[in-house]
Assembly symmetry: C2
Homo-oligomer: 340 residues x 2
């Protein structure tokens, strides 16, 4: 029998491959695979569903991730997908597989973080599964949200002339990870050392305790703004722009000077000999929102805190370009995360 | 720091412990943790949500489980929870974590089984996550169903005098597992041997390719029967009766002579020197429905195929008893599955 390594397809290629032959049979299935969340029709209000799986040794390292933070983050990354549909999460179900090296007290810490996220975002834990695993910890969370049908925002609504907006500064989570990984390497070489996180609360916090932008979605409702397309930035800005462009069948021009990068993150990038814009484009895990608006809505955005306009949607034939600070026009490349 | 082994609480004790301090904040959360599925209010129709995680080496052994069957079963066990609410599953989301020992072709087989289940039960695959794992295969599925609010059936509605009903024969799945485990042991001792499944298609089929009782729920609708309580039999009849009794605050009298056990399964049990009733009570994985009905509904049940009346609900003070074929009255014990 033929044997194709899963690496050859990449994460998105693999998902496309596996889910290509699943025709929707239910009238209530408005949106299936391929957006931040699935959409199920319930009349005026739609149910919006998103799921994520976090695996020890792949998505998190317990050497530097407190279990409470892990619980919080596991919930937040799912809620972020619901907000990215312009909807509000209401419930979650949480499944955990764990080896017997975890105690009840360790699980309590994990659930303390889950509880803190439920409280902060007003979502209810309504179900789940708890089972053992031969090795390691796996967390699978499904978030269930609600949104008015006509207010839901998909990845496929961007049109040429729309402005590209970002809800906050990027690159911090990635640089926090670099810092934590460096300290772990040093600690493995010399277990007596003390970690030196250089007072980098910002970057480390972005990595270990990200927030989902509920406030931005609430602000959209308040000012009556409906983006034309939206996605949350989990895999890096470049990858997310590619998703929007592919599904909207458009091109894009991203201005390097418009991509928001935190000052501390910039300094940290230079210390690691990394280009800050590369961290923002390919780093991921910032959980900010990337969205597009019609040009006539630009005045509304002024009333929002923290929104950066970083480019413009083009015709598909114009490609997906980055205009650097030096004035050079490059093809944007999407790396995203490669887990396999 | 104190260290309590998760074993000390047991599966259900652990879930109770971890989820005890999660007050419901959303008005739409009708039912949280503690039934076959969570229930979310959407007006007349409710959304019903259930999730299950299957871990290699704990819930399945790829030495004797074809990936196609595994995909099918992973979906069915979730759908079974939705039917057990007297609701109909409509959508699923599927998350998979897998090590690089799995090829694209292997995943295709798994998804062929998932596809077959989606087709058979008319549910749509609408989302998921695919990621790598340092070791083994983990499958997490969330099923989303729909039911009229006034027709949903919970575990807590059984009343003294109600009749205990079972939708089909029990014990087969457990005996199929014994057979497969025996053949695996023999094969490990002598890899040249051919498996001898003794033409036990029935028991092996019950283990590897269970079905959820969609037909029973459809029949309930047709004849206008609403059970007073219901649960699916995943952990063994005894464990499920305990769940019904605990949540309904009642006792029960189960008649051994009324517990349906397939003839082939009985013979197989004797071959394995097991008591057939023990296999039915504690074996699990048959995915039949256990439900209770008001005594005046007993005539309606006659129009249903395959329904067995196996006892009666008592007052809580009368305890949970088994009346053996020999006429002895024993306290029923619930073992369920112990994974930890």
């Amino acid at each position: 029998m033929e044997r194709t390594d899963v690496n050859t397809l990449g994460e998105f290629g693999l998902i496309d491959h596996l889910t290509r032959d699943f025709p929707l049979q239910q009238a209530s299935s408005i949106k299936g695979v391929g957006d931040d969340a699935a959409v199920i029709d319930n009349g005026n209000l739609c149910t919006v569903v998103s799921t994520d799986m976090l695996v020890e040794g792949i998505h998190f390292d317990l050497a530097y991730t407190p279990l409470k933070h892990l619980g919080f983050k596991s919930v937040v990354v799912n809620l972020s997908d619901i907000y990215a549909m312009n909807a509000f999460p209401k419930q979650i179900v949480v499944s955990i597989a764990l080896s017997n090296r975890f105690s009840v007290e360790a699980l309590d810490e994990l659930y303390e973080g889950i509880r803190a996220a439920c409280k902060a975002y007003e979502v209810d834990l309504v179900g789940g599964d708890t089972t053992s695993s031969p090795k390691g910890l796996t967390i699978s969370i499904t978030a269930i949200g609600q949104g008015e049908k006509e207010l839901l925002v998909y990845r496929n609504g961007a049109r040429p002339g729309d402005l590209i907006c970002i809800s906050g500064e990027l690159g911090g989570a990635y640089l926090g990870l670099q810092l934590l990984e460096r300290e772990k390497r040093l600690w493995l070489e010399n277990p007596n050392m003390q970690p030196d996180l250089e007072n980098q609360q910002y970057a480390v916090g972005r990595q270990l305790k990200p927030e989902a932008r509920k406030d931005v979605i609430e602000a959209f409702r308040k000012i009556g703004l409906k983006p034309t397309s939206m996605i949350d930035i989990s895999d890096g800005l470049a990858s997310e722009i590619f998703h929007i462009c592919k599904q909207s069948q458009v091109g894009a021009l991203l201005e390097e000077s418009g991509v928001p990068i935190n000052h501390e993150a910039q300094l940290l990038a230079l210390k690691f000999k990394l280009d800050p814009i590369t961290c923002a484009l390919n780093g991921g895990e910032d959980y900010e929102l990337l969205f597009t608006i019609r040009p006539e809505d630009v005045d509304k955005v002024k009333f929002l805190p923290d929104i950066y306009i970083a480019g413009e949607i083009l015709e598909a034939k114009d490609g997906i370009k980055l205009n650097t600070k030096g004035g050079n026009l490059h093809d944007l490349k999407a790396q995203g995360w490669v887990h396999f």
